[in-house]
Amino acid sequence: MNPFREIRANPRQFAPSFLVVFIAGLFGTAIMQGIGILSAWMTSTEEIDESATARILIALVGLTFFVIALFVSSIVIANTFSIIIAGRSRQLALLRLIGASSKRLRRSAALEGLIIAVPGVIAALLVSTALAGLTLTILGDQIRYDADLLHAEVFVPAAATLLVTWYAAYLGARRISDISPVEATSQTVERSPEELRPSKRSLTTVIALLGVGLVMLIGGAAVGVAINNPLGLPVATVGGAISFLGFIIGNPWILPPLQTLVGQLLARTSSSRLAAKTIARHPARSARTVIGLVIGVTLIVMFATAMTTFRTQLEVYAALLGQRGREADGDAVTTVVDQTMMFFLGMVVFSVVIAVIGVANALMLSVRQRTQEIGLLMALGQTPRRVRTMVLSESLQLSVTGCAVALPLGIFYGWIGALAVISPLTGFFAPSLPWWVLIVVVVGSILAVAVASGRPARAATSVNPVEALEAV
């Protein structure tokens, strides 16, 4: 099938993917251009010695966060495409019936991803360059050296975003190979819910990743606590990355039971019970919808917990030194810690924004594909208000599940990190919780998802019951 035609026929379903590509591309390009400006500025202020190290450090940290944002984007885009494909399965079955091979259909679906990514990336480049130009104008005379905003490196994040989108769309379209041409011959409209559980082999991988990661995490912290050596940090960091990867791959096993639990706890009215049933009917899809949010929130909570704990323990240590009659400048250090925390949180926010778009998009597509079901509910007397409540409740249950998983995980990772770094000075300690960050992140992400679900909710109530029931 011609990918341009698919996009022209239904451009709106690609809008979220476009937005996600734009945000990821903007983030990556802005980091590269920001570094360019920063080094030009540092050269101007003649702090040449420091500038090289600082440049590399900032580039490293910035690109790490860009890769995380790109990873979350790829999950959102793959999820979007898998839902688009599920909604198109009848037409795909027809094409299979009259002789299109599944390989070809999958390639052309992936091409749709590439095609929508191109304008997204170009827009990101333009906006980022405009912002960088504005920054240069504001800094004005402070910069005496030319900051090259369009050197080759600047295009690397854009190209990476393009390729990742293409591949994510291809991954998302993998269900095409399961669509049988016979499906086109029957009149049943709804396809059996798409349930793709990873194979037994990947379950083994997940358990291995979780096991190895956990051992390294605890080992890294133990090196700090028991042997008084901060070298446990790299071990714990790698362990954290490994176990989190295991968690992300294992989400189809880990999240659905929690979704069921949240559904049972929160679903008290008929609309929220219907929402819980919708989530339960597509456990794997719902898990994939939430996992982006889990990644973002976990990272925020992890940095906030690590930094807050670090800060508390520094104060404890400073007090300890003070008792022994030595002077310690605790305030200066805590200010640096606070600033570092804000910088990290700012960087993670991009991933969270992308994840929220992902949840809203999944809700939108899920509503569109349930036109008939919603029409039936309305024909049976469900009021538009309660249909809206139902969609809102679905979004609420999804984001509550996401936060319920992400909070303990983030706190644990942050605590282990802080233990590995500073326990050689202070000994074992409990984590200090960054309460305001926890509250802001939970309330913020639930609110953001709820607001973003407004459009899907309106779409749901615009369903005309008569038309929905006639639609074949």
Binding site: E6, I98, G99, S101, R104, V182, T185, Q187, T188
Partner: protein, 272 residues
């Protein structure tokens, strides 16, 4: 192009499609269902063969197996000289694209494409443009089917009868060896249904097209040159001469099946 019937000839004696000792067994958790039991059947070239039977008799399974949409559990299936049971998915897909046409109860048109684009879809999927010869062929069938002035419309802008005629035009466009029609009139009113059956019969008579028709409606089956009755997954009897709706209906009643129940309850799942 590998299509055989470039020269529309009157009915030949060579079967164009064959089932040899074909069984199809569905394994489910609760039970094993034999949808087809050791069926051997020849489909004559250039004829309209109707397969009739009540719900669950296996007539749709028979068509799916014959069209390469479903693999038999045992036995062989031939289209022309080619055994399709041995083909892999890729080859079966190409076979469907080039040598088989389909018309179904649900009109099976791509809603975003115009009538013209829908008809040309098999060529697009084959990555080629129709040749001059094929173009004039398509023009002639489009005229014959009376949809020439509807070519730029989308499926939702034309009537059900016109949609089904578009599906027939698409199925005939590649001059397939065999055209499979599963309850082609099921979603149409009586007049549009008669029109569609007249077109099918003409395609056989005037163009030498081979058609296998699956239906439970004696009036529809009355257009056939041959009627095969199937019950419990096996052909039980057939009619070759003096075919009329009354004779078919009588034969159905003689099959010792509850035909009345079947007539009330359509043969396949429908949307409420």
């Amino acid at each position: 192009m590998t299509t055989a019937s470039d020269d529309p000839s009157p009915r030949s004696l060579e079967p164009i499609a064959r089932l040899c000792d074909v069984s199809k067994v569905y394994d489910s958790k609760t039970a094993t269902i034999a949808a087809l039991g050791r069926v051997t059947l020849d489909i004559d070239a250039g004829a309209l063969t109707a397969v009739m039977g009540p719900s669950g008799s296996g007539k749709s399974t028979l068509m799916h197996v014959l069209a390469g949409l479903d693999r038999p559990s045992t036995g062989q299936v031939f289209i022309g000289e080619r055994e399709i049971t041995a083909l892999n998915d890729e080859a079966l897909t190409a076979l469907r694209r080039r040598r088989i046409g389909f018309v179904f109860q649900a009109f099976n048109l791509v809603p975003t494409l115009t009538v013209r684009e829908n008809i040309l879809l098999p060529f697009e999927l084959d990555d080629r443009k129709p040749t001059t010869d094929e173009r004039s062929w398509i023009d002639s069938i489009v005229k014959r089917l009376g949809i020439a002035d509807r070519m730029s419309h989308r499926p939702n802008e034309i009537s059900g009868g016109q949609q089904q005629r578009t599906a027939i035009a698409r199925a005939l466009a590649t001059r397939p060896d065999i055209l499979f029609a599963d309850e082609p009139t099921g979603n149409l009113d009586a007049r549009a249904g008669r029109e569609v059956m007249r077109i099918m019969a003409e395609a056989v008579r005037d163009l030498g097209q081979t058609i296998l028709l699956v239906t439970h409606d004696p009036v529809v089956a009355a257009h056939a040159n041959r009627v095969v009755f199937i019950a419990d997954g096996t052909p039980v009897s057939e009619l070759n001469h003096g075919i009329s709706a009354e004779v078919i209906a009588r034969s159905m009643l003689e099959l010792d099946v509850d035909y009345d129940a079947d007539a009330v309850e359509p043969s396949r799942g429908e949307v409420p």
